[in-house]
């Protein structure tokens, strides 16, 4: 990634941050929530490029969210940055451990086993009173550099925090995708055994990808917990994971910004769908997903890239 693109990205995100005070609060909350989904989808892209689709990414999402909630409740941690760091560390730890098992699997088996692991967490969360059972627990208000902004100020602070996280994720994930390990993803998807013959351990590479994606999912979960001020077991349920895969399909694995735009589109579609047809939002979501897969199989991100190719006549990034 060139310095120019980084500057451009920083300028766009900075502009968004500056526009926040002039934007309705509900829209800011919606965008913040969309960004938390976008962070998770960034992680899914890393796996997706290697041909891996986890149906249980909610495992790490919920781990991050519950870490935030419980750190506040049990240890009185309020600093937002510390909370997010803790959430990421926990998610990485979980991914590191389950990775030894998960990294052995591919394709549908990878998807199913990751689903099973997330459902184990769901089962534990639902049944344990100390973790709030089905009601979940409230998340205490976070502080920023020792300050406790109230009302709209808190929404802005979270939004700016989200922008910072998106920037970090964007730079980091783009750098990883451009690195040798990241570039090998396509080779793994095409033919794993050939990659092994090159002297590279595919299992370890998949383990690494899983851990990175978990870090992003943990960060997304932490942001969602702070933004909603509440966590519940539904965050670990398989429909949550399905939502992440949904956005990945919608956005396509072509580029990182597409993940965030896809997440934003997802939140908007969901908000509109709930407003228009309260009992039928799944119907609308399902139809959008179906149409995307049937007619735009590479995701909406591919449309942007295809256009770029025709304009400048060079290869797609």
């Amino acid at each position: 990634m060139t310095g120019l693109r980084i500057l451009l990205g920083a300028a766009i995100l900075g502009g968004l941050g500056a526009a926040a005070p002039f934007t309705p609060l509900w829209l800011i909350s919606l965008v913040t929530l969309a960004m938390s989904t976008g962070l998770v989808v960034c992680g899914l892209i890393i796996l997706w490029r290697g041909g891996l689709v986890p149906f249980g990414q909610a495992l790490f999402f919920a781990t991050g969210a519950y870490t935030v909630a419980l750190s506040g409740r049990w240890f009185g941690v309020t600093d937002a940055f510390l909370l997010i760091a803790l959430a990421v560390i926990m998610a990485v730890l979980v991914a590191f451990v389950v990775g030894f098992l998960l990294a052995q699997y591919r394709e549908i088996f990878f998807a199913m086993l990751s689903l099973a692991l997330s459902m184990i967490l769901y089962g534990v969360l639902v049944k344990s009173e100390t973790l709030g059972s089905t009601d979940g627990i409230n998340v205490a208000q976070a502080s920023f550099f020792g300050m406790m902004p109230r009302g709209p100020g808190y929404t802005f602070a979270l939004f700016w925090l989200a922008l910072g996280m998106v920037f970090a994720a964007w730079v980091g994930v783009s750098a990883y995708l451009g690195s040798v390990a990241g570039q090998l993803a396509g080779a793994i998807r095409d033919n794993e055994i050939r990659v092994e013959y090159l002297g590279i351990s595919v299992t370890r590479l998949v383990h690494l990808k899983l851990t990175i994606s978990a870090a992003l999912a943990g960060a997304g979960g932490a942001l969602a917990a702070l933004s909603i001020s509440h966590v519940d077991p539904q965050m670990a349920y398989w429909t949550t994971s399905g939502g992440f895969v949904f956005v990945t399909i919608l956005a396509g694995a072509a580029s990182v910004p597409a993940a965030f735009l896809g997440a934003l589109l997802f939140e908007i579609v969901r908000t509109i769908a709930v407003a228009l047809l309260p009992g039928g939002w799944q119907l609308i979501l399902g139809s959008v997903l179906l149409l995307t897969i049937l007619f735009v199989p590479e995701g909406l991100g591919s449309l942007m890239i295809r256009k770029r190719v025709t304009v400048s006549g060079r290869e797609a990034a």
């Binding site: 394709e107 199913m112 799944q282 399902g286 139809s287 997903l289 897969i293």
Partner: protein, 298 residues
């Protein structure tokens, strides 16, 4: 002692139900390589169709025995209609695409059908307990046993035998086996693979609907029952080995008994126990208990 008997009987009843649902799922996966999330919708629609049929039938005060026929008819009818539409309109367009993409298609269909279900039947729960209570119950060693539950276990047993015989003895079963082992070779030998796919999907859909219909008298039929069952059926199929019928049977028994054990001994671990067993089995047998070794492509 009484706990042990309770665990075994509960476990068997639960396993019977799981088997009926899971065998349809594993059949579709084995033949078509489609992990059909919409199976949960077949189940839910089957349950609702049965509940409606039971309501209509028993309101008229007709003989009880016919009520069971009404359940079966409703399930078969709705399974055939839904299976046909889904296969013809949607799945046929994506044969040959990535397995994961096809899963997502069925996931999208599942989301849509969940809401279609609410549009048709509304959000209120329905109960259709008459077939369950009319069947009566008796007591063994201080433990009440429902005749309906015993019938369910018997039905699952018959289904297991019938499917084994169909696979081994009939022409269609042999065609299925050929397609399961190698679709392209089977096609080269003149097997009409498209037709086998359609028939398989219809059978799977009917079995899913039947699973729901048989459960309807035992539970309050509410929206969302499909979500729960699909994840359980996945666990069963993954334990047994995806695409394996005997695997579905053994997987259903394992999950059924473990869950019953958890419910009676440590109720907090009910859901956890099922997935813990699944994870444990997969650690030692990554492809499930009854899967064939897959050759790797170099």
């Amino acid at each position: 002692m009484i706990t042990v008997i309770a665990i075994v009987t509960d476990g068997l009843v639960y396993a019977a139900w799981l088997f009926v649902v899971a065998i349809g799922l594993t059949l579709i996966f084995g033949v078509m390589k489609i992990l059909n999330v919409a199976h949960g919708a077949f189940y839910a629609f089957g349950a609702y169709a049965a509940a409606t049929a039971i309501g209509l039938y028993f309101d008229r005060g007709w003989p009880v025995a016919g009520g069971y026929l009404a359940i079966a008819t409703a399930a078969v009818a709705i399974g055939l209609v839904m299976g046909y539409i889904l296969e013809r309109v949607f799945l046929r367009r994506v044969y040959g695409r990535d397995e994961v993409v096809v899963v997502l298609i069925t996931y999208a269909l599942f989301l849509i059908l969940e809401d279609v279900l609410i549009l048709i039947w509304g959000t209120d729960g329905r109960s259709a307990y008459q077939p369950y209570t009319e069947a009566g119950s008796f007591t063994v060693g201080g433990l009440p046993l429902s005749v309906y539950d015993i019938g369910l276990v018997g039905f699952a047993g018959l289904l297991a035998i019938a499917s084994a015989l169909t696979i081994k003895r009939t022409t269609f079963g042999r065609l299925l086996t050929a397609v399961i082992y190698d679709r392209e070779t089977a096609a080269a030998f003149g097997v009409n693979v498209t037709r086998v796919y359609t028939v398989t999907f219809l059978i799977g859909a009917v079995l899913g609907a039947l699973g729901g219909a048989l459960t309807a008298p035992k539970i309050s039929v509410t929206p969302g029952i499909g979500v729960e069952v699909i994840v359980l059926a996945f666990a069963v199929v993954a334990i047994g080995g995806m695409g394996s019928m005997e695997g579905a049977l053994v997987g259903a028994l394992i999950v059924g008994l473990f869950r019953a054990g958890a419910v009676h001994l440590i109720p907090q671990l009910e859901l956890f126990s099922i997935y813990a067993v699944m994870a444990l089995v997969l650690v030692f047998r990554p492809q499930g208990l009854f899967s064939r070794v897959q050759p790797r492509k170099i």
